[in-house]
Amino acid sequence: MATLENVSQCVLDGDLDEIKVLVQALIDEGMDPIKIINEGLIAGMNIVAPLFKSGEMFVPEVMESADTMNEGMKLVKPLIMDADMPSKGKIIIGTVNGDLHDIGKNLLIMMMESNGYVVVDLGVDVKEEDFVAAVKKHQPEIVGMSSLLTTTMMKIDSTIKQLIKEGVRDQVKVIIGGAPVTQEFADDIGADGYSEDASTAVDLCDRMMYEICGQQAISA
C-alpha cells in the first residue's frame, strides 16, 4: 500500500522506479497533490538534508534522492497551478566573470533544489550585466555568486556595484562563496551573507528567506 511515509522513505532510498508507482497510487487515490509534495516528497528530502549534514549520506546519494523526488514531482506537477507549487524561494546562481569553476556551484544548486528552492543556474564565467539581466528577468529573492580564484573574487564586488547601479540591489539578498572568499570580504563589499560550502549555504538561504518573508517561508 502506498502511504506518504512510503514516499518519503522511497525518496530517502533514491529508488527511481518505485517512486513512480507510489506517487501514481496516491494520485489515483485522490490525495491532494500539494499534500503529496509537502508530506511525501519534500518530507523525504527533509530527512536527507540532516543526514548529509552529519556526514551519513554522500552527495551522490543525496542526488539520487533529489532525482527521485523530481521523478515524483513530474507526476504531480501537471495537477497543480504553477503559482501553488510549494517553493521556499527563488535563487539565481553563477560563477563570476573569468572564473570557470563549477563543481562547487553545481553542488550548491543540487543542495538548494533538493531543499525546496527554485534555482536558476547562470553557469560559469558570468558577466556583471548578465547577473543584472537575470535578476530583472527572474525576480529571485537571492543571488548567489562564487569565485575560486584570488583574481576573480573582485568580480563579486563589481557585480554588486552593477546591481546597485541598475537599481536592483535592494530587491535581492546577495550571498557569496568560494575558496578565497571570507566573511570579512563579504562584509567589506556589502554582501548579505557568506557561506563556506554547499552544505552550510542552505541554512544561510533559509535565514535570508526568514529575514525576507518571516517564519512562513521556511516551513513552506
Partner: protein, 459 residues
C-alpha cells in the same frame, strides 16, 4: 615516435625512494633532480585583486616581492637549491604579455639570487589550461589554444627550465562523474578523453620545450580530476574509496605525457607521481603536509615517500605573524627536505621512506594506494598493455581489488560504507568493454553532449 613503457623502471622495491630516480634531470644551474637530493619546490599566488592594464604593475611588484623574499630565506637556510613554480592565473595566460612579464621577473630575481647568495634555482612555468574557457571546450585550435602556446613558447625562450600544465581534457565530463561518484563516466573522462587530449597536447609541448636551451617538458597533473575528488572526499561529500580509485585511474593519463617525451619532475599536485616514477624512472614532484595551506589531505607524509621535489602547492601573499605566507612556506619545505636529505646522507633513506609510509598508509584508503609496494604491484600490471584506455580500466579494477583486500585484512581504516561502494564500483567497471571506441558507443547516450565536442578528441 612515442616512448613505450612495458616494464617497471625498478627491479628492487628498496631502490624506490625519495630524492633519487633512475633518470635524473639536471637544470641549467646544476641542480640534479632525482640525483639523490630532495629539493623544495615553492609556489605562490596573488592576494585578492583584479588583473588589468592598470593593475598589472602592482601585480608585478607583488610577484617581485614574493620571489625576492622566498629566495632570501632559502639562502639563509642554506638550501642546496630551489625549484620555483610559476603557475599562472587565467588572466596571465589569456594575456600572454602579462604572463611573460611575470615569468621574466622571476627569472631575473633568480639570477640575482645566484649572484648575491650563490643560490641554485630553476623555474617550472605552468600556464593554466585556457582551453576550457570555451564552453564546451575547444581543445586543438582557436584563440585560447593560441594564447596558451604563445605563453609557453616565450617562457621557454626566456629561460624557463621546465614547462608543465594541469590539463583539463575530459574534465567537462569528469566534473559531474565526481559528484555522482559515477566510476564509468570517470573512466571515460580520464581513460578516453583525457588520454587522447594528453597525446595531442604533450606532443606539442615537448616540441615547444625543444625550442629552449636545456628546457624540459616536465609533466602534467590530473588536479581538476583526482585532487578535486580528494577535496570532495575530505569534505565528506563523496566516499574516500571513490577518490582513491580516481587517483589511480589518473595514472595512465599522466603517463601519456612521458610517452610523448616529458622527462619530469612531474607536477607537484599530481599524486599519481609515484606510479609515474615506478614506470618511467623519471623524477617526480609531490606535496603533502606543507601544502596544507592550499588543501588539506589524508596523505601529508606518505606523499613524500618517493618525492624528488617537495612542494607547497600554492599560497597567497598574505601576512602571517612572522612573515608573508610564501616565506613561511619556503621555510617549512626546506626543513622537510633537510630531514629527508639528512637520512639519505646517513644511508637511512629507506628507513625514512618507510616511516613516511607507515605514518599515513593505514589511516586512509587514499594514502594506502600510494604505498610503494601497492604502487609497484599495480604499476607492474599496467605496463603489460600499451592501450591507454585499457590501462585506465585495469587501474580501476586493480585498485578496487587492492582496497577490498586491504580492508578485509584490516590493513587500512575504512568507513562502514566503503565496502558497499567498492562493490558498486566493481559492478560498474565490469560493464565496461576493453575497447575505447566500443565503450564510447556504449556510454554516448548517457553523456551530456552540450558539454563536450567529440571531434576535439578525435572521436
Amino acid at each position: 615516435m612515442a616512448k613505450k613503457f612495458n616494464q617497471l623502471a625498478y627491479r628492487n622495491l628498496d631502490d624506490f625512494v625519495y630524492g633519487s630516480s633512475p633518470k635524473p634531470v639536471t637544470t641549467k644551474s646544476g641542480m640534479v633532480i632525482g640525483g639523490g637530493t630532495v629539493y623544495p619546490e615553492i609556489n605562490f599566488t596573488l592576494p585578492g585583486m583584479d588583473i588589468n592594464d592598470s593593475t598589472i604593475k602592482k601585480a608585478a611588484t607583488i610577484y617581485s616581492n614574493i620571489i625576492d623574499g622566498v629566495l632570501k630565506r632559502a639562502a639563509e637556510l642554506y638550501t642546496p637549491g630551489v625549484l620555483v613554480e610559476y603557475e599562472t592565473l587565467p588572466d596571465f595566460t589569456e594575456h600572454p604579455k602579462y604572463g611573460i612579464e611575470i615569468n621574466r621577473i622571476l627569472i631575473n630575481s633568480m639570477k640575482e639570487a645566484a649572484e648575491k647568495y650563490g643560490l641554485k634555482t630553476a623555474i617550472r612555468t605552468t600556464p593554466n589550461d585556457l582551453r576550457e574557457m570555451n564552453r564546451p571546450p575547444v581543445m586543438r585550435s582557436g584563440k585560447y589554444w593560441d594564447t596558451m602556446l604563445e605563453l609557453f613558447e616565450q617562457s621557454v625562450k626566456d629561460g624557463s627550465d621546465f614547462i608543465s600544465i594541469e590539463s583539463t581534457g575530459g574534465k567537462e565530463i569528469n566534473d559531474s562523474a565526481l559528484v555522482k561518484a559515477d566510476i564509468r563516466k570517470a573512466i571515460f573522462a580520464l581513460g578516453v578523453l583525457g588520454c587522447r587530449d594528453m597525446e595531442f597536447l604533450w606532443k606539442n609541448l615537448v616540441d615547444i620545450a625543444g625550442l629552449g636551451k636545456d628546457c624540459y617538458a616536465a609533466g602534467d597533473s590530473a588536479c581538476g580530476f583526482a585532487n578535486t575528488a580528494m577535496v570532495l572526499a575530505e569534505k565528506g561529500f563523496i566516499p574516500h574509496v571513490f577518490a582513491a580509485v580516481i587517483r589511480v585511474i589518473a595514472v595512465p593519463r599522466a603517463l601519456v605525457a612521458f610517452e610523448q617525451g616529458a622527462v619530469g619532475p612531474s607536477k607537484d599536485c599530481a599524486y599519481e607521481g609515484p606510479f609515474i616514477k615506478a614506470i618511467t624512472g623519471c623524477p617526480i614532484s609531490m606535496e603533502g603536509k606543507s601544502a596544507a595551506g592550499a588543501h588539506l589531505s589524508p596523505i601529508g607524509n606518505i606523499a613524500a615517500a618517493v618525492a624528488d621535489t617537495w612542494s607547497n602547492e600554492s599560497i597567497q601573499q598574505v601576512k602571517l605573524l612572522s612573515e608573508m605566507a610564501p616565506i613561511v612556506g619556503m621555510e617549512q619545505l626546506i626543513y622537510d627536505c633537510r630531514l629527508m636529505n639528512a637520512a639519505t646522507e646517513n644511508g637511512q633513506q629507506l628507513i625514512f621512506r618507510d616511516l613516511l609510509v607507515k605514518s599515513d598508509a593505514a589511516l586512509d584508503v587514499q594514502a594506502y594506494v600510494l604505498k610503494p609496494d601497492v604502487v609497484f604491484r599495480i604499476s607492474a600490471e599496467l605496463v603489460k598493455t600499451q592501450d591507454n584506455f585499457l590501462r585506465t580500466k585495469m587501474a580501476a579494477q586493480l585498485t578496487v581489488a587492492e582496497l577490498k583486500k586491504a580492508i578485509n585484512e584490516g590493513k587500512v581504516k575504512s568507513d562502514k560504507r566503503d565496502m558497499k561502494w567498492l562493490d558498486k564500483m566493481q559492478k560498474q567497471i565490469d560493464t565496461i568493454p576493453d575497447d575505447a571506441i566500443e565503450f564510447y558507443n556504449q556510454i554516448k547516450s548517457e553523456l551530456d553532449m552540450d558539454k563536450f565536442i567529440p571531434s576535439e578528441y578525435g572521436l
